[in-house]
Subunit: 255 residues, 2 copies
Amino acid sequence: MSSITNPIVEQLLNHRSIRHFKNKKLTDAQIDELIEAAQHASTSTFSQQYSIISVTDRHVLEEFAKITGHPWLLESAHYFVMVADQYRNLQIAKAQNADPFLLHTTDKFLASVFDASIATENIMVAAESMGLGATIMGSILNDSKKIINLLGLPQLTFPLLGIAIGYPDDQPELKPRLPKEEIYFQERYQLPADQTALQQYDQLLQAYYQNRSSNSRDETFTHHITSEVNRGHHIRADLLNNIQSQGFLVAQTKD
Amino acid sequence: MSSITNPIVEQLLNHRSIRHFKNKKLTDAQIDELIEAAQHASTSTFSQQYSIISVTDRHVLEEFAKITGHPWLLESAHYFVMVADQYRNLQIAKAQNADPFLLHTTDKFLASVFDASIATENIMVAAESMGLGATIMGSILNDSKKIINLLGLPQLTFPLLGIAIGYPDDQPELKPRLPKEEIYFQERYQLPADQTALQQYDQLLQAYYQNRSSNSRDETFTHHITSEVNRGHHIRADLLNNIQSQGFLVAQTKD
């Protein structure tokens, strides 16, 4: 553990996902501040290729709870959906009579995912600095088609991540991360030659899961990953098709 | 502009990409702190599906400068590459005799992109809090195949973003972002019905580009987007193939 040099790094190192919230809403000023923080993140080629949608309608949030399998999101104070968005730039290109082909490519889809994800983390950092807690929810992709319908998402947009935010009603223990040598390399990709670091991490994470104050269980990292891959070939099997149906990832030739 | 409630939000709102650096290296402790900050970001299903590679070899960085078209990266104090990584988890799955199919899916590729991008923003936020400046570089994707070779990236990994970091040697003006109504919606996707907000933004951005202290030019947002799409159908035409060659985005059936 390196010495922490300032309060911002200290906050980053103290991040935990919050899934229990007090019954207190955010103010419009707080929401504005979160959006502003998101907007000031870097975007690829400064093309601002994402959008943010606030979902407050209880019936829609109940659909989100079903899709994600996480009913606790209904207790959050505010819910954002981060959307990959080339549709806005498509309108601009069309108005200028420009050929919009590139907006449909893998490159521009990836750029949108970068932009939305990076903006997501700014919302997380801003929220935590304001005394709020949050969880990023990739589980909206369990039924991306339904999310697309619920939010009225046009061509060249795609829902990526939900963010459930509110005033924390618990303080989970910090979850240990992979040993640095498993995730950080010099010059070239090089996992450690032996399994020692990973085995020690398994023990560390097992102790965390056993000792944490709620939802304790017997679990290691290697077992967690194995469970993840064992969920079956059908998991989110329509995701690639749904992304392509929205107009992304078109075939592209070098000519 | 909402009122800024704390120094962390203030920093986020003051972000600017730094491309001019003083001739001063980072210490190992600083680099460790940036890696730690990255590792403490959220990851999808806590699967930590990314890796970070430090590139310091001058010859390799010169290749990066050629690929990205940004020779100023050679003046940065430190260079990271953020890598989508399911290879580490593939080794874990294999060691447990688990079927690794899901790691090859669109879903897990997207999860890796989320993880790497979110960790990228933590590095940016941490760097700025330490008095450093940085630029995220998607331009490494100009030749992803070559980056893969330079970094020795195995199957189920893919290079996504570079980060050039150092002590700022300039202070660019803050670049105005899209009007909120163009990027933030309530309940459903809904761009403004008229072009007023966008036209005003064009004027705002034009004034920014004309008045900034260096690299001033005549440019609007709509013109910038039009230039982007007019670069030709061949732009990064091999990207989808290169991602698939690394083992990602496999076809998947619902059965």
